[in-house]
């Protein structure tokens, strides 16, 4: 299939990634161009949140698609094309960050960062949100708050949250993309979710109907429920 085989009315929205990839692997540049147009905003947004910098996000985005060109022949389709791009972007962002800090570009696993004693923080600010997400999403200040909240996360937790919850990779795919164990992904995901929940609930929660935390119970990261440590 080539890009010439696309619907006559130019409605490319119905053409699946897999078909475009097949055409691109056969040397069709127009098909690859369509794939880039389809995914560039998503990859750029991911790169911005991973790196925290517009300049670095541009580097990461360009490197991601250049890498896709060079490695397209080897892409077998075991994962979705979007997942493959996301993985390349995450690795590129990670390597760039470590290069900036003068660190070797090895895996995130070494910096597990569960906190001093491995505990998952207990929720402090508990309240129903005043408005539904679809209404909140319409406001520019919500977007700024989301950017700020995600930037406050530890980079390792941020990457896991973005890949798992925003890009919808499975735990296994996230672990593979970030070269982490699945157990590590789950713990980081819980920390990220709880920290973001806390931050956003302080902004969007109904102060008049706030629940006090029952007691300060902390659960050790990676523990079963039975091993919960009572403060």
């Amino acid at each position: 299939m080539t890009a010439m085989d696309l619907p006559a009315d130019n409605s490319t929205a119905e053409v699946k990634d897999a078909d475009l990839v097949r055409a691109a692997r056969n040397g069709d540049l127009d098909a690859f161009d369509l794939l880039v147009k389809r995914h560039e905003r998503r990859i750029y947004g991911l790169a911005r949140r991973l790196t925290g910098s517009d300049h670095d996000a541009q580097d990461v985005t360009q490197q991601t698609f250049l890498s896709a060109v060079k490695n397209l022949s080897g892409f077998r389709g075991a994962a979705a094309f979007s997942t493959w791009l996301t993985t390349i972007a995450a690795n590129t962002a990670f390597k760039l960050a470590r290069k900036r800090r003068g660190l070797p570009t090895t895996s995130l696993d070494a910096a597990t960062d569960f906190g001093e004693d491995g505990r998952i923080p207990h929720p402090e600010y508990i309240a129903d949100w005043r408005e539904a997400p679809d209404r909140l999403a319409q406001r520019a200040e919500t977007h700024r708050l989301l950017d700020a909240a995600i930037a406050e996360l530890d980079p390792g937790h941020r990457a896991v949250f973005l890949l798992r919850d925003v890009e919808d990779l499975s735990v296994r795919e996230t672990a593979k993309a970030l070269k982490l164990s699945e157990a590590n992904v789950k713990v980081r995901l819980l920390r990220a979710r709880m920290q973001l929940r806390e931050r956003l609930t302080r902004a969007f929660g109904d102060r008049m109907r706030r629940y006090k935390p029952d007691r300060h119970i902390h659960v050790r990261a990676g523990a079963d429920a039975e091993e919960a440590v009572h403060a």
């Binding site: 007691r215 429920a225 039975e226």
Partner: protein
């Protein structure tokens, strides 16, 4: 000393799950991956513990908000530069058209 329970055994004893037990399973509960036998212990807790119910709701809404956030527009000048670079790269390294 009590033996270590398997994951299919109920948690929390005869009084059902506690807040800390629920928190430990929060990820799996939000993602729908909790063992049904364990879920049976969590649901009664949620039914009577408003703070935990609200925390679950908060986490779900947090994820929804991030997922539905408006996509980022690429700066036009960068986008144009990138597409030129990609075309150059394709000529040198791209898959060859098969006859």
């Amino acid at each position: 000393m009590p033996s270590k329970r398997s994951k299919t055994h109920s948690i929390g004893g005869k009084h059902g799950a506690t807040c800390d037990e629920f928190l430990a399973l929060l990820n799996a509960y939000v993602d729908g991956g909790v063992d049904p036998a364990v879920c049976k212990d969590l649901e009664p807790h949620l039914a009577k513990c408003n703070p935990c119910r609200v925390v679950v709701d908060n986490v779900r809404k947090t994820i929804t908000l991030f997922r539905n956030d408006a996509p980022c527009e690429l700066p036009m000048a960068f986008r144009d530069r990138m597409h030129v670079a990609l075309r150059k790269c394709w000529k040198k390294h791209g898959p060859q058209r098969r006859r």
